[in-house]
Every structure is written in C-alpha cells, then in structure tokens.
Amino acid sequence: MSVLSALYYGFGIVLEPWNLLSCFIGVFIGTLVGVLPGIGPAGAMSLLLPVTFGMSPVTGIIMLAGIYYGTMYGGSTTSILVNIPGEAASIVTCLDGHQMALKGRAGPALGIAAFGSFIAGTIGIIGLIFMTNMLAGVALVFGPTEYFSLMCLGLSLVTYLTQGSILRGLIMAGVGLFLSQIGLDIVTGQTRFSFGLRGLIDGVGLVPVIMGLFGISEVLLNIETLGQQRAIMKTTFRHLFPTWEDWRKSAAPIGRGTMIGFFLGILPGGGALISSFVSYAAEKWFSKHPGEFGKGAIEGVAGPESANNAASTSGFIPLFSLGIPSNVIMALLLGALMIHGLRPGPLMITERPDIFWGTVASMYVGNAMLLMLNLPLIGLWVQVLKVPYRTLFPLILLFCFIGAYSISANVFDLYVMLIFGVMGYVLRKKNYECAPLILAFVLGPMMEKNLRQALILFDGNLSVFVTRPLSLAALVISVLLLLSAVIPFVQKRRTKVIAEED
C-alpha cells in the first residue's frame, strides 16, 4: 500500500461518524485541559482512559491522541492571558506572550500561537508518516538485546531530563521498575511481591497508579492554595489575526520551531517541554534584536508554540515503530493500546493498519478542528478560566474514582489509587518527579522480558549487550548521560536550564 492510498484509507476510518466525534471530543477536552491550570495531559488522559474501554481501539486511541495535542494548543491561552501556563510545555510562552497581551496584542499572540501550532502539527504529521515507516523497517532486525538497551536509554534520558536531582530521578525509576514486577512472573507464572493480597496477584494497575500520582496528588497540591483567585486580564479580541508584519517576523521561527520540535520529540525524554525551551533559545540567538525577547517579541511565541506541537506529533514515532514510549504521555498511550489487546511495534503498521493510519489521519482532522476551536472560542476559554477550583476539584476526584473503579469493578483499585495519590503528593512536595516512575513502570515488564530472553538465548553471556553495535551505542549513551550529571560543568549547565524552566 503506497503512502497516499494508506492515508486515503486512514481518512476513510477517521471520517466515520463515531471516530469523527471521538476526535472532536478529544481535541475539545484537550483544549479545555490545556486552558485549565492544574490538570495536565497525563491526568486528563488517565481520567478518560476508562471511557475508551467501551469503544473500538481505533476510536479510543483517536480520542486520547486528540487530548494530547489539544492540550498543547490550549496551554498557550492561559500563558498569554493569565501568565499561568496551562501545561508545562507552554511555560516559555508566558515570557513574550503575556507581555504582548499587556501591550494590547493578546489577539495576535493567540492567533500566531494557533496558526504556528497548526502549521507545525501538519508538517509533523508528514514527518511522522515517513519516519515511522522507515524506523519500523529497521526495527524488524532488532533482537532482545537491542530492545533492552534502547529501553535503558529511554529511561536514562527521561531521568536525566527530570526537573530536580538526577539521583531522585534514578530512585523513582528504580521504584517504578520494582512496582512493575508485582504480580505473576512472565516465565514461571509464580506470584511475586504481592504480600498475600489477592488484589495484587495480577499486578498493580496502570490506571490507578497514574490517577493517584497525577490526578489525586495534583488536586491535593492545589487544595493547599484553595481560595487564591487568578487575575484574568480584560482583553478584547477584535484583532485576532496577526498582521503581515507579524507573519513576516514569525515565518522563520515557525519553520525552525517545527524542525527543532520534530527532532527533539522523537528522542526519548525530549518531548514538548524541552523543545519549546530550545526553540526559544534558538530564536533569541537568531534574532537581530535579542533584547526584545521577554518584552513581547512575537518570535518568542511563534517558535516555542510550533516546537511543542511538532514534538507532540513526532513523539508517536518511537511508539508506533518500536513500541517504546518516549515520554510519560506515550507510556500512557502504550498502556491504553495494551489494554485494548494491541502491541505497538514494527509489525503494527502492517498487522493493524487501521490503528496507525486512522490515528495519523485523525491528527490532520484534529489539527483543523483545533484551529477552528481555538480562534473563535477564545472568549469561551477565558470564561472557563473563571470557574473556581473549589467547584472543579470534587469533579476531578469523582472522575478519578470512576476511572479507577470501572477498569475491573474492584474497590481495591480505589485504595491503590489513594495510596499512590498520597505518595505522589509527598514525593512532589519533596521535589521528586513522577515521570521516571511511570515510564519505568510501563517499560518494566518489557525490559524484563527482553533481558531474560537475551540472557537465556545467549546462555548468560552478558557481553552480548556490548558486542552488538546498536545495543552498545545505547548503553554507552545511557552511562555517559548519567555520569555527565555528576561532572561539575554539566551539572551547572543542567541546573541552569532547570532553574530557567522553574
């Protein structure tokens, strides 16, 4: 099947009424989540994961993917209007976007963010099609050693890029790996680490863990500051469309942001957050007037917003081609696919073309929907921001409870969720990031399977991990990354980047 005919096939799937509706619901909820500070894309996706159980896999994945890239779109609105990023990848948009709003140019800032995101998202999808096919072809020759080493690399990168101490990131990865071991052993079928609890025989559920660590803990953190009002500026949106001068200034930043976001998004741990910061730094470097940055330069909005959208698209490449999630959102999508009985990897494109091409085509449709949603409905999103958190948080908690319970209709999952909620709250207060824990938790069973397979296959010969070129390269990079964090110069640079992000 050629790319064009495959894409035509994908559009046939996404244009089915239910899929179209789920795409719309996904991008709508995604934008809403992006607008509302306090609920990240991971939390929103885990809340809605149980809703997808009653749907066909392709419909469910279309909706979850829509939430993800919808969040990237919506996050810019709060950054520009309230100076509060709706989600982490929009932090950098606050710098110039809010300054533009203060100067009465909120409309062009929101407009260029939406158009830039649309352009980057569309280009990102084209790259996704070609790169996934190419990488899937190469991945067919990978053995368990390569897979194990690539997963180690992914985990090291995510740990390296966590905000805070790398030691804490490593501990989180270790805890996630241990949690993934609870339940039945994949080889012997023996129950392990279940502490005699029947609820743990099948292991710890992904959804209760994610809902606890992201949903419940987020609510508990926000409850601390309950009652504090957000200052929302009054803005008129008469001049929503950027002027020709704005377009002239933004064209190159959108192009560069798209490239930066696309390639950083593929890397494990890269993702939307890092790419938006790199894009901002690049624009400042390329600009003839770097002094204008931070004072309302439209390039400072166009570049990062394009970058985070391109990254959210290209993040699907390692998931669809290798079956390895590059960040926590992709780990969640992997979990969703597995719950639906699918196993992403190099064979998925040929075995389940409906999932791959349906999702790709839904991204085109979703991007167009987002453009239509974001520009005319900005007034509505601003109104949404006025909903007090006191009204929102009980509803978020209710969704968490329904989500955790409905997976296996078992109250035990609610206890697991509450335990992880409190654990996530304490960990986040103590400056521990939950992303390495979740990624290790999702990758754990796959890492174990590949490690044990490799050891059995090569008769316990550990040198096989360093004699195969790709495996060696992945392991060397992992070790260098982790070691580099303790080298004073690198540590200083890393600290500086994290401090800027904070």
């Binding site: 009653g54 805890v175 241990f178 012997t188 009204t391 319970y405 044990r452 316990g460």
Partner: protein, 159 residues
C-alpha cells in the same frame, strides 16, 4: 548542617527501601545469569534504589546548586489551614472508597460530593446539595447508562 542531615536521612530511607526490595526479591528466587528467576529484575531494582540512596547519603548535598530544590525539599512545609483542608478531603476520599461497595455508586457519590463541595467557611448547604445531586446523577447516566461501566449498586439494587 540541617540540610546535610535531611540528605542523610533521605538517603538512609532509600537504602532501607532498597534493602527491603532486595530481601523480597531474594526470597522469590534470583535464579542465575543463564536462567534468571522471578526475583531477578526486582533485585536489580532494589540495588538501584539502595545504591542511589547510598550515593545520596554520601553526597554532601542532595540537590547541589539547586536553591529552589533545597527550599522545597526542606520538610513538607504545609500551613495549618492547608493541612486541615487536606485532612478533610482525604477523610472524604477514604470514606468514599470504603462506602462505595456497600452503599452503591449513587448514594456514596452523593455523600462524598456533598462533603467535598461544601465550603465550611461559607456554609453553602443549598449550593453543595445542588451540585452533589447533579454530579451523582449526571455521572451515573453517562458512565452506567450510556458507557455501560459497571458501577456498584449497593442499597439501591434496582438502579
């Protein structure tokens, strides 16, 4: 000095956790490198947690150069008002989890939502009542009736 002590105690905590994981993994059987047992990867994770905890313990400062990190890491730092709010919310959440099966979805959700929506300072009884009834019924219709999720029936078996 206080910061160093905190780093030490944090490190000790993770060394203990890592050691505990290793013991559990050992009990389940580590196997050999040729034929890894059920506890093999668990043991490695215990080594990772304990090893990094030991490194944390030995390092002079756990978050070198991160001013903000050390401030945030310095205890949980929860004001008394927030602590009361957290305890109040957690109490309702635990009660909700315990009562969901015996009372059923609608009744337990109504009670939990009423408690969570209720603002103890403003005493907004009617407002809480309206929102808790609406939230329970709408969520029931969406998840049980429309999406066919299996929610507990409890004392209202006909629902």
């Amino acid at each position: 000095m206080v910061e160093k002590q905190r780093g030490m105690s944090e490190g000790i905590f993770w060394v203990v956790i890592g050691g505990f994981i290793c013991i559990l993994a050992f009990q389940h059987g580590l196997g050999s490198v040729r034929a890894p047992g059920p506890g093999f990867v668990g043991f490695l994770s215990g080594i990772l947690v304990g090893g990094v905890g030991a490194a944390m313990m030995l390092s002079k400062s756990i978050s070198m150069g991160r001013g903000k990190g050390t401030i945030r890491g310095a205890g949980l730092g929860i004001p008394a008002v927030s602590l009361r709010r957290l305890a109040y919310t957690m109490m309702f959440l635990i009660a909700y989890a315990i009562l969901m099966d015996p009372l059923g979805y609608i009744v337990s959700t109504f009670l939990a939502m009423f408690g969570l929506f209720f603002d103890r300072e403003k005493k907004n009884w009617l407002w809480s009542l309206f929102f808790s009834v609406t939230a329970s019924l709408v969520s029931y219709l969406v998840f049980e009736v429309w999406l066919r999720c299996q929610l507990p029936r409890g004392i209202l078996p006909w629902w």
